[in-house]
């Protein structure tokens, strides 16, 4: 069965730009300062990027991101090791080379596994697809106002646990105030801007909010709305968006959080989208 996508194809390359940018930086640095300095610069960049993944782990508690951090540290160390060998001219032993290569192969394999099983994927696109799934009516009607969706009969503790679940599984980033818990779904490639505070106020983004009385409201940003192929009925889209999170919350409270992940995996959205 072919899935009908409601969103435009993803052409965002922000996620790929950062690792790809390391190659020309390494090349130019090697050309100007020599290969050994180029390797040091490359190692430092890898460590800096790794720190971002550590930050993601600290914010979301998503363990695969901690793994990416560790992998980045390892790769950075490999570059400095390589530099040492180039500088000293000392040839490495076969045993050491094998140990390094097998470790790198194993760690790389685990990383690939995590990526392919979508454990490192930000799920914003899945959320938007699920929200658009049930909306057939078109007719625009966009407004920057949030839409009250209704009330959920869950206590703040249950909602907080759900937001931790959303963060851990990269469904949405939580922002908590004394009265509100706001979830901001993040699409792949948008995580850098949002987490580094370069994307502006989170209230201008797309969010779903749970207040301390259980009232749910939704706001969809114009950028995200225009990402749909058609001008879906905005009122219905907001209602559907809120309903997706209410359904997720219900499943999570029943201890069926895995079903939430299954629903999103069933959409078979590319791992880089």
């Amino acid at each position: 069965m072919s899935l009908v996508r409601k969103l435009n194809p993803d052409r965002n390359i922000t996620g790929a730009l950062i690792p790809l940018a390391m190659i020309p930086i390494f090349g130019i640095a090697s050309l100007i300062f020599g290969l050994t300095t180029g390797l040091i610069i490359l190692a430092v960049i890898v460590w800096v990027v790794s720190c971002f993944y550590l930050y993601v782990f600290a914010y979301t508690r998503n363990l695969p991101h901690l793994y990416v951090f560790a992998y980045g540290v390892f790769v950075g160390c490999l570059f400095t090791l390589l530099r040492t060998y180039i500088l000293t001219g000392k040839e490495e032993t076969v045993e050491l080379g094998l140990a390094i290569f097998s470790s790198w192969f194993f760690l790389g394999f685990v990383l690939l596994y995590l990526a392919l099983t979508r454990k490192l994927k930000w799920r914003g696109r899945e959320v938007f697809e699920l929200a658009g799934e049930s909306v057939e009516e078109t007719g625009n009607g966009y407004t920057s106002r949030p839409r009250p969706i209704g009330k959920v009969a869950y206590n703040p503790k249950q909602i907080r646990q759900f937001t931790h679940f959303c963060a851990r599984n990269l469904i949405a980033l939580p922002y908590t105030t004394s009265k509100n818990i706001t979830l901001v779904p993040i699409k792949m490639g948008d995580e850098f801007g949002r987490l580094l505070g370069l994307s502006g106020d989170y209230l201008d983004a797309t969010w779903v909010n749970f207040d301390d009385q259980g009232e749910v409201s939704v706001h969809i940003s114009q950028k995200d709305y225009l990402d749909y192929r058609e001008s879906l009925s905005f009122d219905q889209l907001c209602a559907s968006f809120g309903q997706v999170f209410i359904d997720f919350l219900e499943l999570h409270s029943k201890g069926e959080g895995v079903r939430v992940i299954d629903r999103m995996d069933d959409l078979r959205i590319g791992i880089f989208s």
């Binding site: 009607g141 106002r145 949030p146 009250p148 706001h219």
Partner: protein
Amino acid sequence: MDFRSAAKYASLLSKAYAEDIFALLVNYQAISASEVAARLDLHIKTAQDFLESLAQLGILSKEEVLEKKRPYYRYILQQTRILIDIDLSQIKREQTQNSLSLRIREKENAGARFSVARSGATITNVTIWTGAGREREERKIKLTPWQGKFLYYLPFPKATPLSVGEIMQKAGIDEDQASEIMDIVQFLEKYAVIETSPED
């Protein structure tokens, strides 16, 4: 007393020289504008205008006097008490059941910006733009808590319009607040931010 007359009274009483002129009026049987001006060191036109305004309000009466064939007026105080009494309920807009059944929703492409409170389900202000080109002006309307709550529940453009009463109910707003709600509804309707449709 209607609001307009009260405003005239207040305007006259607020003049820096008002008390001094009244002191002359209450102590003299009759006094002319030139006498007042000379006594208080005012311009004769200032004294003349003030006394004329009081005469128009009925506080003074005036009698024409001829002196060397040149007529002028002498002013006589008619009342020693000035009472400003305004019944504000006269200017209160009474809400009828009909106005609460007015069905409304946000107008598409209204060009207004609604700012949401960080604390929760309420709009803090609405920014609208009036005029075009160089005449274009931004106008920011600060909302009362009830108005903010009401607008939070306003149906989206193209959504089914709801009556003012229904929206108030959704937002948990008491009917006592209807007049301030209707005020913002009428204002936003005037600036084409919301559209209305009569009850089905």
